[in-house]
Structures are given as structure tokens and as C-alpha cells.
Subunit: 255 residues, 2 copies
């Protein structure tokens, strides 16, 4: 199943249409929009989409980031500015080649994890909380201090790399998958992670873990980042939640 | 010297401006226009160029293909449709990696051959004679029968590959831009992990997490495995221990 493209708070309909067009060129079919500024449907998107009208018409709209990503297992956030977060930062090529080989982009691709490619609003980019919720950061190498690649051009580059990596996999089949992580289809979904984070946050709010309140945002973000880095399976995530609950409840064994 | 970008009979000023913008992102500086349809200068080009105005303003205009390419040594013609010609057809990546290493894209690059990247008009593409005059054909791999990548998007992809190849040459071969996880010198030691495990084990032994005693060995092993998979830094591991302790102790915030 090809990765899903998620545009977070996109502004111009033209850009949404241009993104759809880029997607069609590189075998991407599912488009999700988080709170598009000018509402939806947007006639400008269809006008610009040029042969990718089916993608625009099938786009689904979500009120917020979490609902748009709940069923996905791996999120790649594209941002020009690497934030100060302990996260993997990859080039588009590394991201495409790093992805599990059985996460096929071809229609024949079977199984594999559900991947989301996340792009922020035209001017401001993604919020830190959205980057923190993602597993990997993609940064497109550009010449200047500040990249002026626009939204659709970023999708062009990332889509091009996904498609190229897929094309290479189909030709020379050296598909070895030798990491120690759970097989991709078992990875926890973002909804699973959200449940864990909700549980953990409620526990921590009730302790003095943060010591001072103003440190909470950064400490909380760091915790989310480091926990997600392990790429846990749904089963592992459940074990972890059980562990937290057990400690929280401190039930004595033989009571 | 970076390759020269040559737009043959471009139609819309907007597209010329968008090409300039793409060029600036990827370290390309010299733009040549062969017989632009709407004349030159074209105010729309400048409007769209967004920070690449210097490239638009320095663009030079030529009456025909031959005069625009006379001083160049190698021409790479980008076309979506491979023509029936006995010519090398490369992907953008192959073209970028195939190019002589001393054809540096950096300002410090010395010598090397003068390369031209040739792009045809928006609708019709290059004429056969122009392709014949080129040394190499670049075809961008896309999903459909007919690519609908527009002019500037094609420049984005080709420019991105040139820039990436150059960046890889400059760094080392690994092309690692930034960190994956914490830099390896910051990683927690195994002693740190053992301290965490001792703490966690003592907590869990005091709860009914394992439910039945004979399950403890496997559950405990799984927990250790999944926690270590995140490759935490010493600092992150300390944060995690603090979190566990806070939950264990359940100190009320304002007590």
C-alpha cells in the first residue's frame, strides 16, 4: 500500500491541486487534509490538478492532526528546519531506501506498515507537537539557508524518491530485511500511541515528575520522542501500558 | 562550475520564475532562455521567482538552440518521452552520479566540463534535432504513461539530484546529514541500562504485572528488549527512570 500524503492546514487550493498532480506522477493515491484553511471542496484544487482529479475528489478531511494519522503506523514529517529534537533526520532518499522493503508502493504490494508522509502549511510549517508525534524527519537538502521549495515541490521530491526506490526494488530484488524491529505490519498505530500518551500524561500530571510546570512541554515532548523511537509493535505497546498501569496501581502481589 | 539551465522556447513567465526558484534551492545559478514566447524581460517571471530574482535578472536570451549551447561541452536533455534514438537514457540520479566528479557544483569547484541541462517547451517538449544535439537523455521515472510533471517540477527533480550528488561528494560517501539517534558518544552505557532494569524489576516484582509467576522470564525479557531498541542517550534514560519513579511514588503535585 503506497504511503498516504497528509497536508496539515494547507492554505491555497492551487497548492492542494498541484500536490495531487505530483502524487499521481509518483504512484501515490491517498490524500488527507487537516483543516484546510479555505474549506473543502475547493474548486481551485480541481482546476490545477490536471489529470489527478480523482485524487482531489477522493481526498478526506480531518479536523486535527491526531484524527488524520490515527490508523497509520509510521509518520515521516517533512520540514525544512531541523528542530532540536532527538529524532532521525533523513534525506528523502534515505527515507525511501530506509523504509521496509515490503512496504510496497506498487498496487501489488502486500501487507507492510501504513505510512504517512506529512507536510505542513505553506508559510509556517509543522508545529513542534506534530513533529514530535512523527517518527522520522525528512529534510530536503537545498542550497540556501532557507529553502524556498514550495509545498508541491516538496511533495515532488519526496514522491520521486519513493517511486524511484520502489522501481529499484521491483527490478533488482535484493530485498533483505535484517533489522531487529517487529515486522512492519505489526507496528502500533498512532491511535495506539495516542492512548498510551493519554494514559501516561494523566499519571504524570498527578505526580511531581515535571517539578516545575513550565518544563512540562519540553519534557513531555522528549518523552514521546524517545518512546516512539523504539518502533514498538502493538503487542509491545500494550505490554508497556500494562507495566505502567501495574506500577501506578501498585497492587501488592498477594493481596 | 554548476551546470547551466537552458529553457528552450518556454511559454509562461510564471514557469520561468518557478524554474529560477527551483534553481536557487539547488545551487544552480545560470539560466539561459531560447526564444521565450512572450519576450524578455517578463514581469511575471520576476513576481514568481521568490528570492531568486537575481537569477531571473541575469538570465540571457538566445535566438536559437545552437547559439545557447555553443560554449557548453555536455548537454543533458530532459524529456518525458524516450525517443527512438541511439542515445544514453538515464534517470536524473544516474545522470547526476554519472557526471564527472570534477564537474563540481560548488563555487570552489574547479575546471571540469561545462554542462547544460536542457528543458523543452511546456506542451510540446524538445524537437528531435535538439535531442539529437544533446549527449544524454534524462527521463524522470513516473507512474503514468504520460508524465504530467510541469517544467519547474522537472527542474526541481533534476536540480535536486545534482545537488544531492554534489553534497555527497563534499561530505563523505555516506551522505549522512544529521544524526539518526543521539550521537553515539551520548548513548547510555550498559551499566545505565542495568540500573534501570534493577529499578524496574523491583517495582514490577511488587505489583501483579506478571499475573502468573512462570510468565515472568519471557515478559521481562521482552520488556528489556523493547526498551533498549530505542537507543536512548544517557540523559533520556535518566528521564525515563525519573518518570518511573514519579509514577511509583505517586507524589501528589501540591503536597
Amino acid at each position: 500500500m503506497p504511503p498516504v500524503v497528509i497536508l496539515v492546514r494547507p492554505q491555497l487550493g492551487e497548492n492542494i491541486g498541484a500536490v495531487a498532480r505530483a502524487m499521481a506522477n509518483f504512484g501515490l493515491t491517498e490524500l488527507r487534509l487537516v483543516a484546510p484553511r479555505d474549506g473543502w471542496p475547493n474548486p481551485r484544487a480541481l482546476e490545477v490538478s490536471s489529470g489527478a482529479g480523482h485524487i482531489v475528489e477522493a481526498a478526506s478531511v480531518y479536523p486535527d492532526f491526531n484524527s488524520a494519522t490515527a490508523d497509520l503506523q509510521l509518520l515521516y514529517a517533512t520540514t525544512a528546519r531541523p528542530r532540536d529534537m532527538e529524532k532521525r533526520v533523513l534525506t528523502p532518499r534515505q527515507a525511501a531506501e530506509d523504509s521496509p522493503p515490503h512496504t510496497s508502493l506498487s498496487p501489488e504490494g502486500r501487507g507492510g506498515s501504513k505510512i504517512g508522509l506529512v507536510f505542513g502549511p505553506e508559510r509556517t510549517g509543522l508545529e513542534n507537537s506534530e513533529i514530535a508525534a512523527s517518527d522520522v524527519i525528512i529534510t530536503i537538502p537545498t542550497s540556501g539557508e532557507h529553502s524556498s521549495l514550495n509545498l508541491a515541490q516538496s511533495v515532488v521530491v519526496v514522491g520521486y524518491e519513493w517511486w524511484s526506490a520502489q522501481a529499484r526494488r521491483l527490478t533488482d530484488d535484493s530485498g533483505q530485511m535484517t533489522n531487529a524491529s517487529p515486522s512492519s505490519s505489526d507496528l502500533a498505530t498512532k491511535a495506539d500511541w495516542q492512548s498510551l500518551f493519554t494514559q501516561l500524561e494523566s499519571y504524570l500530571d498527578d505526580t511531581n515528575y515535571y517539578r516545575v510546570d513550565h518544563k512540562k512541554p519540553i519534557m513531555w515532548q522528549n518523552l514521546q520522542t524517545m518512546l516512539q523511537r523504539g518502533l514498538w509493535s502493538e503487542q509491545e505497546l500494550r505490554s508497556f501500558r500494562g507495566m505502567l498501569r501495574a506500577i501506578w496501581e501498585r497492587e501488592k502481589k498477594n493481596r
